[in-house]
């Protein structure tokens, strides 16, 4: 049972990282949003599995929150925003996909090296692997925020970063539900705020390309 539980947890966490990589090479906005929804679904599965093997029932609630908010509401809202704003459907990257993928691999290697070293004392192998994967997802989310130009993709990067946090919290056995719910809500609110900003930016500049803001500041050489 132990090996089986470990394998499934490993599989789910690993597939989260895999989906993070998929998000990096998406070049269509809708595809990106769908991939993000897929990641959220995988996250809720991973959290539910943790709830099952740890026997921690409140984690089921976390899984449900992840599924409802991040798997359904947020992608739907982003879809709507993209449609209403009529944003160019193409994802504009700063660097090419290949260097970004290579950088992402480096980040995963770094986080695994670091986490496995740091948690040597922890006897729970699942938690260790989970933490390593969670850090990878966080770093990949940040990488995505850094390498994309438009605000929508940065929002997606931010949400995916947050997925990593939830994964880490679920694996660490003991994050209280209150904290989790508040994190979920704060992310939702962040999304709303960013969404509002998107509309305002768009109203003013006819674009959600963040470079336009810099033109406005008059600081672009």
């Amino acid at each position: 049972m132990q090996g089986y539980a470990f394998d499934i947890a490993h599989l789910l966490a690993g597939s989260l990282v895999l989906v993070s990589f998929m998000m990096i090479y998406q070049d269509r906005l809708y595809a990106l949003l769908n991939t993000f929804a897929l990641q959220a679904v995988l996250l809720s599965l991973a959290v539910a599995w943790q709830a099952y093997i740890q026997g921690a029932h409140h984690l089921y609630a976390s899984a449900a929150i992840a599924l409802v908010f991040k798997g359904i509401i947020v992608p739907w809202a982003l879809h709507r925003i993209v449609r209403r704003l009529g944003i160019d459907r193409e994802v504009e990257t700063v660097t090419g996909v290949v260097p970004t993928m290579l950088a992402g691999m480096g980040l995963v290697a770094l986080s695994i090296l670091l986490m496995l070293q740091l948690t040597q004392s922890a006897e729970n192998a699942i938690a260790r692997e989970d933490l390593a994967f969670a850090l990878s997802v966080i770093l990949l989310g940040m990488l995505m925020m850094v390498t994309r130009r438009t605000a929508v993709t940065q929002v997606v990067g931010f949400m995916s970063l947050e997925n990593g946090l939830i994964l880490a919290a679920a694996g660490a056995q003991g994050m209280p539900l209150v904290v989790e719910i508040s994190v979920a809500f704060s992310v939702l609110i962040a999304m709303i705020v960013i969404g509002v900003f998107l509309f305002r930016i768009r109203e003013r500049f006819d674009s959600v390309d963040l470079e336009a803001l810099d033109d406005f500041r008059g600081e672009r050489q």
Binding site: V94, S111, L114, Q117, L143, M145, V146, R148, L210, R217
Partner: protein
């Protein structure tokens, strides 16, 4: 004892608050200074009582401050020596201020800060943990800064205040780092915990270097001295006396507390920078004193010199202690402590003299004074005693401590390290140079201010200063004489502190015949200030009697020889610049001295001009490059203000990755 001392410190702080409430009361100044003086006298009782009774260290804990730490307060022999010093200096300055304060135009710029400044210094001396120490140190710095800014309308004062604030902040930050290193990651900020912990040699070296910079910036070690000659004179004179006489000693205390008490044994090489920096400070300080033309600035530069002498003594004590020669270490440390005490006495006295002259004439520039011995005979007499003490003439107190220090220097061949065997005699040479230059400097100081003819109308019309000021100065002058002819008692008084610091003491001096000073058996030399005084009194009296007996008693006035240039103008007298010229020319590279002569073209009747500029090399070689580097870096980093949002994110991301990578490698 400790309870009493803490009560006094808190009373002084409370007096500051009371002073703010006493706005507008005409007697406020007398009340505040009077109570400060009484509290300081009580401090002398506490300090001297602790030392005389050989009372054990006493401590207490007040539950104020960091929640897990509280405030530890602690009174042992070392603190007691400095508490006594502070008490004497504070009492004299406060008594002086009762008279001097009457001339203040805006007494409420000084009154609220003055007692608090004294109280904060007491708390620094009593602090028993790093937190209390740093907090009271910072309070002391800020209150003295407020006092420096008393005359804030002068542009110079504001600049001095800014410079002081920057240097004080820097010093406190370095002290914070030093105590952080001492406490270690465990956070044992209690001095007892720090003392108990073992410190590695590398850490000890780092802590000592930080203490040198941190405490040294407050004490005025070269090259951190730049604020001192501008800030000390800018304050009112009784505050200048406190800052120069007492606050620099509080800094010395901070250094001693760490170097001799908390740090434990240190490697002998650690003593080398202390000795070298001390000696260089002594020479540079007195060189600048020799060429400066402002009375109070001369005194401030001379403070730098004396601090250098004290640090040299401390360095020697460290060297002897690390080579397991506790008796010689005790000799050097006694010299240092005694010099600290002596310097407090005569430097406070001289600043008060400068204040009396300033009050009487409104001038600080030597070249506008002169002939004051006729107008202010009592002040002049007291100034003469102070000047003789500071130039280390026997039988006054300055000689005793310098003599003891030279006895310690002469023992350097006993040190096992060849490096020190060569270094210490060389440093002895530098100290001798500093002593000679000090004599030159104070001949000039006294001669130009008090002798000759008045160089300005205000100097001609000066009147003697008030009785309170004279009494305070007289008390200090008396102590200078007493400490000079009976140094044995002072040394015995300080012996417990020396014992605490180096684990040995010099032999008891109290019972020696003729009050002779016999430092340690190894030295095989002795000095009796009492006998010297008796000899000076007898021979001087006999000469005076003979001269008056054999010659006529009549006062004769005759025209002075005018070198064939019959111009009676007082400015043709030998002035401050004239005294300084030989030394300034010889030492020109060290002083950055440049002379310019502007001659009018032939046929033009206008006057030729001779100008002199001196420059502190510390600015050119230390501060200007630093300022330039900061400007360069900030100009470069300015670009960071104008990045795109994505670049900011990249910056954050990059630093996170960097830190994570560092963590990976670290593990």
């Amino acid at each position: 004892m400790i309870g009493f001392a803490v009560t006094i410190a808190l009373c002084l702080l409370a007096l500051s608050l009371a002073a703010t409430a006493m706005r507008g009361l005409s007697m406020a100044s007398v009340a505040i200074y009077g109570s400060s003086a009484l509290l300081c006298l009580a401090l002398v009782l506490v300090g001297a009582g602790t030392l005389l009774t050989h009372a054990d260290a006493s401590g207490m804990r007040i539950p104020i401050g960091l929640p897990w730490l509280g405030s530890h307060l602690h009174l042992d022999a070392l603190s007691a020596v400095f508490v006594t010093l502070l008490g004497v200096g504070g009492a004299a300055a406060s008594a002086y201020a009762i008279g001097y304060g009457r001339h203040e135009h805006e007494p409420h710029r000084v009154l609220p800060f003055y007692p608090g400044f004294l109280g904060a210094m007491v708390l620094v001396l009593l602090a028993g943990d790093a937190f209390t120490f740093l907090l009271s140190w910072e309070i002391m710095s800020l209150l003295s800064w407020a006092l420096v800014l008393t005359n804030h309308r002068a542009d110079e004062t504001r600049k001095a205040g800014y410079l002081y604030l920057v240097m004080a902040g820097l010093g406190t930050m370095l002290l914070l780092l030093a105590f952080g290193l001492l406490a270690g990651s465990g956070g044992g900020y209690d001095f007892a915990a720090i003392r108990a912990a073992k410190h590695s040699p590398a850490l000890a070296a780092l802590v000592l270097a930080l203490m040198m910079l941190g405490a040294g910036s407050k004490a005025g070690l070269v090259p951190l001295h730049v604020w001192l000659p501008v800030a000390h004179p800018a304050a009112p004179s009784h505050v200048s006396a406190l800052m120069s006489g007492v606050m620099t000693k509080v800094a010395v205390y901070g250094f001693m507390r760490v170097a001799f008490d908390l740090l434990g044994p240190v490697h002998w090489s650690m003593s080398v920078p202390v000795i070298v920096v001390g000696a260089l400070t002594a020479v540079m300080g007195i060189l600048f004193a020799n060429v400066d033309g402002d009375g109070k600035r001369i005194l401030a530069f001379s403070t730098i010199e004396n601090i250098g002498v004290i640090f040299t003594a401390l360095g020697l004590a460290l060297a002897f202690r690390s080579s397991d020669m506790p008796v010689l270490a005790a000799l050097a440390l006694t010299a240092g402590l005694l010099h600290a005490m002596n310097h407090m006495l005569f430097k406070s006295l001289l600043f008060m003299v400068a204040g009396a002259v300033l009050n009487a004439t409104g001038r600080r520039d030597l070249d506008e004074l002169g002939g004051l011995i006729h107008r202010m005979p009592k002040t002049a007499f007291l100034a003469l005693i102070g000047v003789m003490a500071i130039t280390a003439l026997p039988p006054l107190n300055g000689f005793v401590s310098e003599w003891l220090l030279f006895q310690a220097v002469l023992q350097s061949p006993k040190l096992p390290q060849p490096g020190l065997q060569f270094l210490v005699p060389a440093v002895g040479g530098l100290l001798a140079l500093a002593a000679a230059l000090a004599a030159a400097c104070f001949v000039r100081f006294f001669g130009v201010i008090f002798l000759g003819r008045p160089r300005s109308d205000v100097a001609r019309d000066a009147v003697e200063t008030d009785r309170w000021s004279l009494a305070a100065m007289g008390g200090l002058a008396l102590l200078c004489v007493l400490a000079g002819i009976l140094p044995g008692f002072l040394i015995d008084l300080m012996a417990p502190a020396v014992d605490l610091a180096v684990g040995a003491r010099v032999p008891v001096q109290g019972g020696n015949s003729w009050f002779t000073l016999i430092p340690v058996a190894e030295v095989r030399s002795s000095y009796s200030g009492f006998l010297v005084m008796v000899f000076v009194a007898i021979s001087g009296g006999a000469v005076a009697w003979l001269v008056h007996r054999l010659a006529s008693r009549r006062l004769r006035r005759a025209p002075a020889w005018d070198c064939g240039f019959p111009n009676a103008d007082p400015v043709t007298q030998y002035g401050a610049g004239s005294f300084a010229q030989p030394i300034r020319r010889v030492m020109a590279p060290l002083l950055g001295a440049r002379e310019t002569v502007t001659m009018p073209p032939p046929g033009d009747m206008s006057a030729a001009r001779h100008g002199v500029q001196t420059e502190d090399m510390a600015w050119r070689f230390c501060y200007q490059p630093m300022i330039a580097a900061v400007f360069y870096a900030t100009t470069r980093l300015n670009a960071l203000q104008f990045l795109t949002i994505r670049r900011y994110l990249t910056l954050v991301f990059g630093s996170l990755i960097l830190l994570l990578t560092g963590l990976t490698i670290w593990n």
